[in-house]
Amino acid sequence: MFVGRRMKRDLVTVPPGASLSEAARLLKANRIHHLPVVEGRKLLGIVTDTDLRNATLRGAAGEVGGAPRTVEEVMTRDVVTLSPGDTIDDAMLVLCRQRFGALPVVDGDRLVGIVAKADVLAALLETLDIEGVGVRLEVILPRDMGEVTRLSATLRELPVEVRSLVLAPHGKDQYAAFVRVATIDASGVRDRLRGKKFDVAELSDFYEPG
């Protein structure tokens, strides 16, 4: 999945000469934390609510040079960016490892979008269909596509709609299959799967009550 499909395109930006209070107002009004600083479409830097807060604190402490007044003075110039051709995986890795909140997306030096943590989480929610109707079952399989095929064949026989199926590594030689089924009778499905000798994890296998 490419960043270009997930990024936000209607951007809130500021010119470098904008005042700090103007920047603060924009952040608050749009309920965001990151403002790309642009000249035309060209990305010059990024300013976050943390930058603004630190600047205000510096000003209050009466540091040499006085309080900064424009966005240009406080923005980060050396911005980590993505390109529309990068993938959501790239975005996840950068966001997670470097602990950023949002990444501007640039095509050359032209700003075309922004990807925030929430956008990446939304992609994950959709993939796992977490907001959709259904129940998640967790089936532990040997690492053998034959077993995966058998599982899908078994699910096909059941009178239920499968909303999503995610296969994840589980230890060294097993898969965990996360199946989301749209039926209220999840225990019936569990029983049928167990009847076909599948290892359906008990809730307690994943969740230990305190």
Partner: protein
């Protein structure tokens, strides 16, 4: 033993056997106590007042045994006669007799006005025998103590005498420890007033006719009454109170009888409210009344055999076995006679359209008519009677709301099928087609002007349909306790969902982790749900009462027992007492393992009646 001096009026016992026997002797000497034929149908009344084919009194030990069985010696024989001969509305009892049958005691007297006999009253005191094995006539054990009005007649019109007398009697029988006070009489005596007190027509067919005639009258007089309003009448007391805002003329004769048609014999014209006028002017009917002297709350049970016509395939968890087993258990436990059985009615489509899209209902109807095996999703299996049953389930909640608002019952349990809380405006899912509580809430709003409705949903599954329908409505508090959506169908109902727009804050989701039991359930209920309902100050509480959070239920992973349901029901009633006159209408949702479902539902119903004896479980204790 000395009389209990703290109570001015009522039995003074318990007494020693010797006192009772002496009481018998004194009455026999005064010619006030006799024996009588054992079978009441053999008891013969002669034309005017001379009452029974009486016999010599039976042996003392037999009389004593019956007295013990009926009264536990709480009252002495002479005292009972005195307590029964109450003077109300200037009318007294004369020639009062106690007659001993083999298994019952009779009270027979003249009704006197100014020394002149104007009527006659016979009461029957007996004890029901309950079968120990349901389908065998024997063996049996002693059941409810019953007072039965064998007959009452008055030769003179006496407005309100019967109601006043029975009101006093009801109190007396309560103090004597009787369970039921039954009447069966031609309602020519005080018919309107009796109807108002809760008389019902013993013959359902006759009642349908009465309803049809009421509709004919409204039609003939061209009154602004919708057919739907008449159709939803399920009880005689509703007829009496029907459309008090419309006044119609009735004519009265010299003796005080009324008619709806003017003629020479009925010259005097009166304007009465529609329902009252109709009953006063109609023919006498046979009625019965059950007075629940051992139940602090009168609970209506909404029930119809048509709920069984929603057929689901064998092995489907939401099968009709749920309801047949519940009904059988209600019978077996002897609860039926203490419940005010209420019939549901098919709601007008405008009531259902308040909640569901007309196109959606039409698709549902067509799917049923085509003979489809399921509608919308494989979970929602359907059969030939499913469409009607689903509408009737919503109509059942409306009938329960009618019962509670008309004062016929204090609260109601609607044993409906199919369930409703997953059904959204245009979605069927999770065995649900029509959102019964939602239709009920909308109906309470339009028919009774209720502004603030609380819907409490303790089904183990989140009531996503109900939430979707009301999430923007600040006038409906939707509070749901359910298994956490990450583990359980339908995967919604997260804590952060608190309503939308103007309705923000009027949705409360309390997810419970898998394997949570009574303690966790009751804790969460007390900590989060109770304060929210208290703060909301509802005018009506609707319960989405599913019983699938039970530890034996296969469809969810919670580990509650009947105890949690008893606790929550008690607390809901108590909150309802404080905020909305005890108005609670409980609507059946899930609960799929028949034995645990039946046990839980029974405990819930008993608690609604205020007769569940399980000790109160305190929160967190």
């Amino acid at each position: 033993m000395a009389a209990d001096g703290t109570r001015g009026w009522g039995p003074g016992g318990p007494y020693a056997e010797r006192d009772i026997t002496e009481g018998f002797d004194r009455l026999i000497a005064a010619n006030r106590l006799f024996g009588a034929e054992l079978n009441p149908s053999v008891l013969k009344k002669s034309g005017k007042g001379a009452p029974f084919l009486v016999r010599k009194p039976p042996p003392r030990h037999r009389m004593l045994a019956l007295w013990q069985d009926l009264f536990e010696h709480r009252v002495a024989p002479g005292e009972l006669l005195a307590l029964l001969s109450i003077e109300v509305h200037g009318m007294a009892h004369g020639d009062g007799l106690l007659l001993f049958g083999r298994d019952r005691l009779l009270y027979d007297c003249q009704i006197l006005q100014g020394g002149e006999a104007v009527g006659h009253l016979t009461l029957d005191f007996y004890r029901e025998r309950d079968r120990i094995v349901p389908f065998l006539p024997f063996p049996t054990r002693p059941g409810h103590r019953v007072v039965f009005i064998e007959g009452i007649s008055l030769t003179r019109q006496s407005t309100g005498y019967a109601s006043a007398l029975f009101r006093r009697y009801e109190r007396l029988f309560h103090d004597l420890g009787f369970h039921l006070f039954r009447l069966k009489a031609s309602l020519s005596v005080g018919k309107y007033y009796w109807a108002k007190e809760g008389f019902d027509c013993s013959d359902r067919k006759q009642f349908q006719e009465i309803r049809d005639r009421l509709w004919d009258l409204a039609w003939r007089l061209d009154l602004p009454v919708a057919e739907q309003e008449v159709r939803r009448l399920t009880h005689m007391s509703d007829v009496a109170a029907f459309r008090g805002d419309i006044k119609i003329p009735v004519w009265r004769d010299k003796e005080g009888y009324y008619t709806l048609e003017r003629d020479a014999a009925h010259p005097e014209e009166f304007l009465f409210p529609l329902g009252k006028a109709f009953l006063l002017g109609s023919e006498p009917w046979d009625g019965h009344k059950v007075i629940y002297t051992d139940t602090p709350r009168r609970t209506a049970l909404v029930w119809s055999d048509k709920y069984l016509s929603h057929g689901t395939p064998v092995g489907h968890p939401e099968g009709l076995k749920r309801l047949t087993a519940l009904r059988e258990a209600i019978r077996r436990e002897g609860l039926l006679s203490s419940l005010i059985v209420t019939e549901p009615y098919l709601p007008g489509m405008e009531a259902v359209h308040a909640v569901h899209a007309p196109t959606y209902l039409e698709e549902f109807r067509e799917a049923v008519a085509r003979g489809d095996r399921y509608f919308a999703t494989r979970d929602c299996a359907i059969g030939a009677g499913s469409y009607e049953a689903a509408l009737l389930a919503a109509g059942g909640v409306m009938a329960g709301i009618d019962a509670v608002f008309s004062g016929r019952s204090d609260n109601a349990f609607c044993a409906v099928r199919p369930p409703g809380h997953h059904a959204g405006r245009a979605t069927a899912m999770g065995f649900c087609f029509v959102n019964n509580v939602a239709v009920g809430a909308a109906y309470a709003r339009s028919a009774y002007g209720v502004a603030r409705v609380c819907i409490l949903d303790w089904d183990a599954h989140h009531g996503n349909g109900t939430q979707d329908l009301f999430e923007e409505d600040p006038g409906t508090l939707f509070a749901s306790l359910h298994e956490h959506p990450s583990f359980c169908y339908p995967g919604t109902g997260r804590r952060m969902d608190r309503g939308k727009g103007a309705g923000t804050g009027a949705t409360l989701n309390v997810p419970l982790p898998p394997h949570a039991g009574d303690r966790e359930m009751i804790d969460a209920f007390e900590r989060e749900v109770v304060p929210a309902i208290e703060a909301f100050r509802p005018e009506l509480i609707l319960l989405s009462a599913g019983f699938d959070a039970h530890r034996d239920d296969p469809i969810a992973d919670l580990e509650c027992t009947e105890k949690a349901y008893v606790h929550m029901t008690r607390r809901v009633l108590e909150i309802a007492d404080r905020h909305c006159g005890g108005r609670v209408v409980s609507v059946l949702e899930g609960g799929y393992r028949v034995d645990s479902f039946v046990a839980s539902a029974l405990a819930h119903i008993r608690t609604l009646q205020g007769r569940e004896e399980t000790p109160c479980s305190s929160a967190g204790g």
